[in-house]
Symmetry: C2
């Protein structure tokens, strides 16, 4: 068969403002600092109109070095898989040069995300090799803003925790929740509402 | 902060053999034909050494037109999110020019996949807007080959079905299972084993 319209590639990009914005921010070195950066990226993404109200950061734990950042790019890039966590994990793996952040010889990594992961992102976390996840807003906050996170259950977290992934939830929750609400009040696009 | 090593983009690509291979295959027009194509893509991907033993196809249901194909690209592209289903959904949305295959004015779409979706892909299906999913090999077959699909439960399927996503499972299961086993016997990389 001949399929001339078949796409053979898709590009995943950060918004143009990211690099310049990061230069204005002091480098964090603890949980509070990294989660505040994830939340501030979510806020910047809303203010620039470059995607949904979600931000994420991947950090090398031993050195506190930032390996990647991500923001939601679903609407502008026509790609429903580009949640902030997935973007950050993809860019971290590209930086490390491996499909796993848990390979032998690779130091441990953590993910900071402005909102509890949806079903897809929990699965992406499982495959990614990050061993620690710190979240701000809750699944309930996302739902209140109109985002249905899909089939995420208490057992989903238990499954990952039993396999060595640590979760810390609710850190700077209120700040992150306010970004979600500001997005809705600004008539931001809520998909799967 | 200055982060000169930060990656700003990642590229998602099909293997080079895809277009030439599709030209050798007759165009399918029913469930059996589309699932056999998904399975044959998984087999080709193993034989070419271009990723894991998984293939997928997105189809416009009314016209039986193929909108995209995908294969697993995790190891070669250093990207643990590039399962066959995610690649196919990303390329379908790029072709349609929308983050949702369920937008008003867009005809209904189906996903054919050579294996039951993992936790991440079930979540990706939920966001993608496909309303019908046809699968070949089972979650148990994947696990027997060493792939732990993550937190997928009977309730995960029930959640999506309750929201209008139809699943047909086990179609051409044995053919797909054989591809999984041939990958393992050929010492293919099994991640999260």
């Amino acid at each position: 068969m001949d399929l001339p319209r078949l796409r053979r590639q898709a590009l995943v990009t950060l918004p143009d403002w990211t690099a310049a914005y990061l230069q204005t921010v002091p480098e964090p070195n603890d949980d509070i600092g990294f989660i505040e950066l994830a939340v501030s990226l979510s806020r910047q993404n809303v203010e620039h109109g470059t995607g949904g109200p979600f931000g994420a950061v991947v950090v090398e734990r031993d050195t506190c070095r930032i390996v990647s950042v991500g923001v939601n790019r679903v609407v502008p890039l026509h790609n429903s898989s580009l949640h902030a966590e997935v973007v950050a994990l993809m860019l971290a793996q590209a930086a490390v040069g491996s499909y796993s952040l848990d390979d032998p010889g690779i130091p441990p990594h953590a993910l900071y995300t402005s909102c509890d992961p949806c079903a897809m992102c929990l699965g992406a976390i499982w495959w990614s090799g990050v061993r620690r996840v710190v979240c701000a807003a809750s699944t309930e906050d996302a739902l209140a803003a109109g985002f249905d996170e899909g089939p995420v259950f208490a057992d989903s977290y238990a499954y990952l925790e039993a396999r060595g992934v640590e979760f810390v939830r609710g850190l700077r929750r209120e700040a992150a929740r306010q970004v979600l609400m500001s997005y809705v009040e600004g008539d931001g696009k809520v998909y799967n509402g």
